[in-house]
Amino acid sequence: MIIAERKPINEIMDMVKDAKRILVLGCRGCVTVCSAGGEREVEILASLIRLGKQKAGQEVSTIEATLVRQCDKEYIDSMDQWDGQYDAIVSMACGVGVNFIANLRPMAKVYPGVNTVSFGGSAEQGVWSEQCAGCGNCVLHLTGGLCPVARCAKSLMNGPCGGSVGGRCEIHKDVPCIWQSIHDKLVRIDNKEGLAAIAPIRDWSTAGHGGPRKTVRNDLTV
């Protein structure tokens, strides 16, 4: 899922400093699962915004709502119900949601309530770690299922680098060297070709280096 975390409240207060009526809008997707922007977090942020405004001696009213998703037009369209009732929107969805609102509601002032951090998973309660970088040309079949793009500090395709020591990455002793893990995994599953293979210079155009990416599925378009 997409991992996010709430921005510091002072940063958000600065965004909405001129707004008197604020729509705090959560999303029931990934940000609900990672407890960054679901219904509960909307309630907390709206309360913090009201407190911040109270402290500044400013009037404020908030609308708290949570859409099923903010990355589909049909749900963004349902925001019609609040037309004329807010001066600013603080979206607690990932950056996709904020962009969708900005795309589809050209006059709306929309601000991000969270920092979108990574594509990751829950490593343990309250801890999430990055696992994939959405590079558009997956190589996991060659690397024992462990991603060198997202999980190697240098996104090396032929690792490890000279900084790998004792299974740890040179950037920090708490970070595993994923290339050590990849080699260990390929040995465990007896993938000799994988171990010997040398990846060619990579074309990163699918990873966003060729501009914004668009996915078209002709079997689904209408």
Binding site: N10, G57, S61, L67
Partner: protein, 158 residues
Amino acid sequence: MSFTPNIQAFCCHYTSQQTLAEGPQGLLADGFPKSVTIHRLVCTGKLEVSTILKAFEDGADGVYVAGCPLDKCHNLMGSQRAAKRVAAIKKALAELGVEPERIEMYHLERGFHPGFVKAAQEMDERITTLGPSPFKAELSSLPAQTKLMPSGCQGGAK
């Protein structure tokens, strides 16, 4: 000008048994400050961040939570959870430029214990020194809040 703080205390069933046994008059006789209003909960682990923030919105100058000792919670981890939520609120208060000391977590023994009164006295003294909540700035009108229930905000309501 003298200032009597408004302090809201959220206490679990176990740490606040004294309130039931002695009643308000008995507590006052023990030296429990008048400024503190007690809210009893089954467990502090039930306490939501939003409930504490609401207390500040409703005019509290200070808030504290009293739960079991960290390693002896009746519900195992309830008071640990509460402590983490209190820490998160301290951080948010600091980000808003408000003294984080206005919220505190106490881990108290269960049943009758002088610590229960002492925590209230400590908060009373602390908040009296800090003065009124900065959230009580003058407003030209009261803040309004509209809360939409889940059925009203399912987007396309499919």
